[in-house]
Assembly symmetry: C2
């Protein structure tokens, strides 16, 4: 059975909208250069903000701006009382270090939950913002009443924005979590023994029907494009059909992440 993200997105949207009525929220998007793909993503954010009465302001800088100059601009936004959250659109130009730029944010305005200080809170199990994709994965599972306590979860991919924080967040939900990656031996065993598989390795249709059980729950967080520009996840359609439940691509995790980012906006400021 395919599951979709739209209802989760709408529920979160309503929740954020209600909070925004009593709390002044305002999002700044830092964009360097003007890549088309990031423009589309930013438009999605602007529309989302408009729907719920939260101003989204794009600060666009030329692709030639130096790292030091960009950081000076970010520090101005850190200090602006009108702005309560800041997102830094990736990818940044190759002459910049992502970690240095991200950590120049005031962590209290880090709406993506990717500043080192906020990531550390995940290990320490402190409340706060969380990276939006792992947040979307957990919202999707909970919205579909998938039990997490004691569940055996296999995560495919160990990235700093998805696999690694998600592992910690699912542990905090009392799941038993295994993280797999390119060096994992017997990967198929690790997938087959899972109650829940989260695919996030960025390989089109990698997980096939023979790897999953009929009672497996699949979250497909992959975003891949074929030569015609059609979007595919990391899990093959036949595997999804066989499984008990599987998130669609497109229309699954991807449509929830923007809502989770705005949910983070409501949590910032401490």
């Amino acid at each position: 059975m395919l599951i979709y993200g739209k209802e989760v997105r709408e529920a979160t949207k309503e929740k954020v909208k209600r909070i925004a009525q009593n709390k002044p929220l305002s999002l700044a998007v830092v964009q360097v250069g003007d890549e088309a793909a990031s423009g589309a993503y930013i438009n999605g954010m602007k529309n989302f903000g408009q729907d719920i009465g939260i101003p989204v302001t794009v600060f666009n800088y030329p692709a030639t701006i130096s790292e030091a100059e960009l950081i000076r601009e970010i520090k101005k936004l850190n200090q602006s009382p009108q702005i309560t959250g800041i997102m830094i659109q990736k990818p940044l130009p190759a002459h910049m270090r992502d970690d240095v730029v991200v950590n120049s944010l005031d962590y209290r305005k880090d709406v993506e939950g990717i500043h080192n200080f906020n990531l550390g809170k995940i290990i320490n199990r402190e409340a706060g913002v969380r990276p939006s994709t792992p947040k979307a994965v957990i919202s999707m599972l909970k919205a579909h009443n998938v039990p997490l306590e004691g569940a055996r979860v296999t995560i495919l991919g160990r990235s700093s924005i998805l696999g690694s924080p998600l592992a910690l967040m699912l542990m905090a939900e009392n799941a038993t979590v295994t993280v797999c990656h390119t060096r994992t031996r017997n990967l198929i065993d690790e997938i087959r023994r899972a109650d829940i598989v989260v695919a996030a390795m960025g390989q089109m249709n990698f997980v096939t029907a023979d790897m999953v059980r009929e009672d497996t729950v699949i979250i497909d967080a992959g975003i891949n494009f074929d030569e015609n520009g059609k979007m595919f996840g990391d899990v093959h359609a036949e595997a999804k059909q066989k499984a008990k439940m599987a998130s669609a691509v497109p229309g699954g995790i991807g449509v929830i992440t923007v809502a989770e980012l705005f949910d983070n906006l409501t949590l910032l400021g401490e």
Copy 2:
């Protein structure tokens, strides 16, 4: 075969000693109250420092000091150019919040690697200090030439100072890591399938011989005391005898952690 920590400790000690000859290092230990157990630990640190020419200064405050006052004192140490690293001895009195006190440290002086900003670096795979017990576990494994790449590791315990950061650190070493805890179902299966088991749940002799294979490598990071004050790990002696290799308690991981803390001291300052 039992393995011990002494050689690892001595090797790290020599390494730190060499670095200290060219880099001014100085450790401050913040002690609140005067519990006997923490006094013994602090004496161990002082002796270690003395052996390698690194001054260790204890700043002792009465158990009645308020959280706000303690934080003011820590901020003075943050600013002191004579001090390059600060350790906050735990447990703190019950009227203090550990996380607030720890995060009042300048993260550049956080010799324990437990400030949120430094923990976040583990998720982001940035170089830097790491909590000393998981560091000791990895040093022990490497010193005994246990292959980590592709190894299936089961960690028992998900604490913020050991299980959780260790999971991320072993993933970075290309191990396939599963973290188990009180809510894990089929815990025995998870232990039996591991190439390496790290026991860190704080239950005396919990892991028994029937749970391990003859080719299992066991790291016992448990510290428990029986009614006579004798120290025991989390793994039963018979399990250790059966396994390919198992770290002793006492004399295993515990004797390495102080050395790892001093190793962190050499990494601070950026």
